[in-house]
């Protein structure tokens, strides 16, 4: 069961859609998502893949905005690459750190 529970961690950053707080949306939610992901990941190799896993919520957000208006999203990328880059780096970083922390918190006898 734990193998599947970890995927809930990938969805946790998306809870920011309902939050007005930047600190939560940009850093804490991806971190918490990472903790859940790492905690329920049995093998160390799964934790190593955390940066790749973090691309999934990033991709889901992009799919949402593309569905809303792909032309505007494209223009956003061309005018504000800095913001897109910053967001991706934050989510990758905090998710990965969270995943490592979650894996370390994991009880040894599990």
């Amino acid at each position: 069961m734990s193998r599947w529970v970890r995927y809930i961690g990938l969805l946790i950053p998306l809870l920011g859609a309902a939050s007005p707080w930047h600190v939560l949306n940009a850093a804490l939610l991806p971190f918490i998502g990472g903790v859940v992901y790492g905690y329920f990941t049995e093998r160390r190799r799964g934790v190593v893949l955390a940066p790749l896993a973090a691309l999934i919520p990033i991709g889901l957000v992009l799919v949402y905005y593309a569905a809303v208006d792909v032309a505007r999203l494209t223009r956003f990328f061309s005018i504000f690459p800095l913001f897109v880059g910053l967001w991706a780096v934050f989510w990758l970083l905090f998710f990965t750190v969270g995943a490592v922390a979650g894996h370390l918190l994991r009880p040894r006898n599990r």
């Binding site: 920011g16 859609a17 939050s19 007005p20 707080w21 930047h22 600190v23 949306n25 940009a26 850093a27 804490l28 971190f31 903790v35 957000v61 905005y65 809303v68 208006d69 032309a71 505007r72 999203l73 223009r75 956003f76 061309s78 005018i79 504000f80 800095l82 913001f83 897109v84 910053l86 967001w87 780096v89 934050f90 989510w91 905090f94 750190v97 969270g98 490592v100 922390a101 370390l104 918190l105």
Partner: protein, 690 residues
Amino acid sequence: MAAIVLVFLAVFLIPPSLLRFADPFQGPLKAVARPAPPAPLENYALVVKAADEREAFYKLGYAHAYYRFFQMDVMRRVAEGRLSELVGGAALDTDIYFRTRGLYISAEKTWEYIKQNYPQYAALVEEYVRGVNDYLAANPPIVEYLILGKRPEPWRPVDTFAVNKLVAWSLSGGEDDLQLKVLVDALGPQFLDIALARELNTPILPRKATFSPAIELGSNNWIISPNLTATGRPILANDPHLSLTAPPTWIFQRVETPDYTVMGVAFPGTPVVVIGTNGYVAWGFTNTGVDVIDYYYYVWNGTKYLYKGAWIEADKRVERFRICDLDNRCVEKTVEVLETVHGPVIEFRGQRYAMRWLGNNVTLEALALYYMDRARNLTEFLNGLRYFVTPSQNTVYADRYGVVAYFASGYYPIREGGYLPFNGSRGEGEWTGYVWLPSVLNYVNPPYLATANNKVADANIYLQWRWADRYRHDRITELIAQKLTRGKITVEDVMDIQRDVVDISCRDVKQLLELYGGDSGRRLLDELSRWSCEMSPGSTTASRYAAFLYNLQKLAWERFNISTTFVPFEVTMASIKKGLIDRSVVEKAAEEALKVNAPWGSVHKYAISHLLGSAFPGLNYERVEAPGDWFTVNVAPGFNVAHGPSVRFIVAFGSGVYTVLPGGPDGDPLSPLYDAMYMPWVRGEYVKVG
């Protein structure tokens, strides 16, 4: 556990602005999800259809906010001296400049006056404001605010009038009198004679204008009369030259109500069409620049000043400024502003002056434009024009009945002089009354007439001295005359004129080089003699010619610490000819010009910026080759061109209405319409809008 604590600590050490930028839900990325537009854009024009006027103003407010709210906010904040609340300390000097001059005070007075005396128009303004605020109430994702981390403040009626005051100020000449004093002090009264006479300039009106002192009451445009056009109906053309910004200064709108339909350009933040047509009449503006600002110096003793023999304590107002950074940390600064009987006290090069500006009174330009928007003939149009106080405009008029006319609009304060600061302590320079300029400066049914900020008329009183050089005006009339020799004028002819990039100042420059040039001057003259004077991007001679003009102005005037474009070129030439400026500058400028080996388009490009464009260059319009120069009809001054035709507008009765804006109708940078008209504007293309 320690890792978790460390992460939480790190998160709180990150600047809030970075977290905002990286937030995909409440940060800038949120702006991708913009609500659908309230009013459609047809051919890049905002179209508002309404059952009555109140609904029309409401819808306009909503649509202006939807398409241009950030721009509206910046304009009101500049006028009210509150921009540093939004963008930080970089704007503080601008804020102090405008707050000191008190534009916001006159906007408040004007709004109070309109509420009391014109309640019907006040109600329409309130509808417009309600429309703006209804849009803002939904907290729309506007990308600039998401970047800056601020929430838009509600719009107030007085903000609309503050925008009007800002436009009026920007066209009123600022500190010209004080800068002229610098030159007169350095060069003597002979310079003043040259500047005031402006003998080389071409007046718009063929006859001398006579003002009666007893009266007590208070870019390019042209018109062609019906008998000279191919359709047999009048043509009116206008391309007002203003700062080029992203998004453009204007929004093009068409408002349809059961009583009237009016289309043309408006300033976002103000509901009325400024330059436009309603099917019955059409009108356009260029700035006359008549001098309606005076400066007064006094004998001071602390905060007391001597006025007509008595010591008077200057009034004081304390202005508080909030300067907020990207993390919304704000600091306050206060500035004490003194006011004399003449107006607010400013400092210029260490000297105190009080400033009196006509626009600091209650002025009713908005009401004037409202009446002009509804006018159906010349009489009704003039009834509207009567309310127009400042900035005085070369107003061209045409109507469906075949009447064409010219009026210099606005009021002019009667006083002795006005070009240099007055001794306020002695009571000099008091305004004794006002002249309604159209009563003196008018021309009904000329065969054709053009204005290009050049001298309105030779007059028996001083009107102003910084008339634009005559070249654009003379080129327009020259082209009209040329085209008439081949037949009647068509809309395409008028478009050709608006696109024209021949600089006829080259005729004067050749003479200057002949008279005062040395070896380099003769080499340059030889090259110019084989050139068509066309400032086209591919021409290296055009580059050299522009370099000559630039260097000549620089060598002549830079040592006085004034802008190189402050003194008109005709005055520079006259000053050189009279020996007030060392004639060797001609040869030196020619030497500099001959060093240039690049085509004009490689050194002369449009540089049209967004307010946040220095941090995010993607917000600016593309830098592309700019044809033209300071003196071409299609004007493009300087090397990084940020000033030019802010709209091209042609009304050809019986044929159509054509326009193009230097940018897009939509101020949202994520919209595909953000810069949709920019390249067509660069290429000189038009959109038919009616």
